[in-house]
């Protein structure tokens, strides 16, 4: 469903060349939740941006349902849902107007978009908020709106960038339920996070990223076997010290 193959990306900062992503490869199947884990600056967001076509890789490629980002960015983007913790809302639009706007951006037929809007709003418990001005929503309500927005075009692949950042316990629980729903409906999901405890509960497979390189990859059991540690946190501490 989603294939990332030998992606590389470097940035020039002043005189120094910084390798943000270095020969990164992984694959996510439908119904699978893949945790791309790493500390801040590990290259997680850059990877997602390369998959989305917002950043051009130096080499390698990302492929979604057989379409490569560099070759057919429109086909790829229309098959990707993207939700980030820093996503905002349009304060002067109603929630419904905002959701329909994004449906339009993804080319969803208006009648179909209205149906999806109602259905997803019910699923995420925001039906009563649809005609409220987005600027008046609480943080938790905004988060739910953003999650609905990411699904409005029914993409087969979802990319979630630090989805629990800045959320309280209820907010985090909402994310857990959301990801569970995505798994149930057969989406391929990539979750980028540095919250390793949450990742342990959420993800089926993991990729541990450090300084742009994939250090370890596999299921939790495989990682435990390879590292000799019980928890992802301990594996990471080892990684950072090495």
């Amino acid at each position: 469903m989603l294939t990332v193959e030998s992606l590389r990306k470097s940035f020039q900062l002043e005189e120094d060349e910084i390798r943000a992503v270095d020969d990164l490869s992984f694959r996510v199947e439908p119904g699978e939740v893949y945790g791309l884990l790493g500390p801040n600056g590990a290259g997680k967001t850059t990877t997602l941006r390369m998959v989305l076509g917002l950043v051009q890789p130096d080499s390698g490629y990302a492929e979604v349902s057989g379409y490569r980002t560099a070759v057919d960015p429109t086909a790829v983007k229309s098959r990707l849902g993207f939700v980030s913790a820093s996503d905002g809302v349009y304060p002067w639009l109603s929630v419904r107007e905002m959701l329909l706007y994004f449906a339009d951006l993804y080319g969803v037929e208006q009648s179909e978009a209205s149906v999806r809007c109602e259905r997803l709003a019910e699923l995420m418990g925001i039906s009563t908020l649809l005609d409220r001005r987005a600027g008046t929503l609480s943080t938790g309500q905004r988060q739910r709106v953003t999650l609905v927005r990411g699904l409005i075009h029914d993409p087969p692949v979802m990319l979630l960038d630090e989805p629990t950042r800045g959320l309280d316990v209820v907010g985090v629980q909402t994310i857990f339920e959301y990801i569970e729903h995505l798994r149930e409906v057969g989406k391929a999901v990539v979750v980028c996070t540095h919250r390793l405890d949450e990742a342990e509960r959420l993800c089926d497979r993991f990729g541990l990223l450090h300084r742009g390189r994939m250090q370890q990859t596999g299921t939790l059991d495989e990682l435990r076997q390879n590292s000799g540690h019980q928890h992802l946190v301990d594996m990471f501490v080892d990684l950072l010290r090495s």
Binding site: F11, Q12, L13, I18, A20, G41, A42, G43, K44, T45, T46, T47, L48, R49, L52, G53, L54, V55, Q56, A70, V71, P73, T74, A75, K77, S78, L80, F82, S84, S86, D87, G88, V89, Y90, P91, W92, L93, E97, Y101, F102, D104, L105, Y106, G107, R149
Partner: protein, 714 residues
Amino acid sequence: MSGANFKGRLLRLCQKELKETIRDRRTIVTLLLMPLLVYPIMSMALNRFLLSSGGIDEGFTVCVNSELESEILDQWLSNPNSAPPKPVADSSGNELAKFRVAVIQDVSPEEVVARNDADVGLELTNIETGRPTATFYAYRGDSVSQAARRILVERLQWLKLAEAELLLTATVPEYRTPLLVKAEDVGTLEENSLLATIVPLVLVLMTITGAVYPAIDLTAGERERGTMEAVMASPVPRGYVLFSKYTAVVAVALLTAIANLLAMFTTLWAGGLLNLLTGGDAFPWLTILQMFGLLVLFSGFFSAVLLSLTSFAKSFKEAQAYLIPVMLLSLTPAMLSLMPGITLSGALTILPLINIVLLARDMLSGTVDPNNAFVAVVSTCAYATAALSVAARLFGSDAVTRTSEKSIGSLLKRPRDPSPRPTPQAAALMLALLVPVYFLVSNGLMRFIKASQDTNVETTLFLNAIALISTFGLLPTLAAWLARNRFKTTFRLQPSGILSIIGAILLGLGAWTLAHEAFLIAESLGVGGLSDQQIAGAEATVAKMRQTSPLLLIAVFALTPAVIEELCFRGYLFSAIRGAASPLRTVLITALLFGLFHVLTGSALLIERFVPSTLMGLIIGWVAYRTGSVYPGIVIHFVHNGLLNTVLYYQDQLGFLGAGFDDQTHLPPHWLAIAAVLVLVGAGLVWVSSRNRAETSAMPSENPAPPTNDSEIA
């Protein structure tokens, strides 16, 4: 996507941007509240200002302390001897300033003036002696107060003088006035030009104010709110999003313009100042419409400028920091337009903002010069295109993400990887810069030639060639270098076969007849045509050119334009436009641009050149498309120009051919037949030589250039 779907989607995107902006109360403040507050205040200030010129019927207020003083002042002013002598009074239309006398008993006149409750204060002492002393008080630095006192003092001086002369004439019969004073006016009356300048200036500034907030909010604001990245992650083309934002900014700017136009004219109408502006009391709907047209143009231009600047900014604050200097910079030319003697001509026609203010002023006073108006409109459109292409280049690229390291300087940074041809946006930017640069260079050249009387023909020719090279040659080259476009594919330097070159020579030999006939047809339809004066001017130029070597003429008027113009139009522009348009559209657009630039020459607009030049552009464009190379076009251009120049040079020796080349008549049928054969054979050779080409090397069909790199690090 079908056409209807495309339009519907674009419309909905525009609606969303507009809704978002219009619902914001900050937009409403600039849109409605400002006009409601500004104009009544401005009207009051104008009323006060215009009083100094005696333009208001109510006149000046003089304050005195007693009825007696009021009566004495009335007597003095109603005495005909207090009026200036006829020769002086004639210069002001024999109209005397009016004074209203107010008697205030509790406060001294001095204090009343100090409080600004009257224009002048008068105190009369020694009345009982029969020789009263009049003391006039005026407010220091207040032009109205000072003018009122000056007039009063002058009136009393005239009165004293007249009575003294009466007495002197009665006592000394031989007395004659030693000096006669006359006052005469020169020049034409510029009625209320100040008001006619202030009105458009304020409207332009208010339109800017209206556009600033939405421009920031819809770009930097969206980025700050965290919605931009989600939009850019969607498959909608960036151009759609930018277009919808541009539409919203222009719409709000125009709504502000309409609100301000109506508020301003209503205030002027209610305040009785409208007749000073338009010469009548009727509400000037037509003038308002004309002004609105100009504001549409200005909004289109300034909104593009604002969007291109705010596209850099990562936050509202940063965007404001970029815009404040621009606003201050805008004020400088705006203030310049208030200076007396400033007219819409020369370089001012291409100076952004001021050209619109001056054109609006000319519209209000009904003195629009079509040539200057055309240049002002075209240059403003060019700037709008340039700004939009900058915005298109930045919007949604690296600069969209929140932590981008890009800055304004990155616009001039060369990309790391070469590309086969320029983007249409880069071409639009180059083209937009070409308009003012070409205007300045060609005007500067003319001024230099006129200023140096002894400039010989060779120097003039040399300067002509330099002007062409430094504009049409240098700008595309610089643009291609800056964007790291491969020169070979950008300027379409692929070699073409010998057959196509022979075809091009034949086309060059025959095509001028088509251009000539097209010119005559256009002339009969009222497009272009030459006046007797123009023909005489052309003949004088030809006579002058005959003083020099024909080879030099060929080099300047045939070789240089053939190489430089072809590299620009059928090289750079052709390859850029071809990246986004079909071959037919590419040929049409480049031909129209070719025709337009032949019209825009120096200070005069050579409309008559449009039809033949566009036709030549079409022919050469077709050849360029078929052959995939710029070279056959250069050959056609060179042979065409070279032939015409040679014929003009040897005109006298070619009389035996039967028809004069300078004649404004149709060519003889046998000439046309020969030319038609040449054109057909030439076109046939070009067609045959390029049958198997199918746009292979010349028009690479690569995918559009991928988005440029992001300098963000996760």
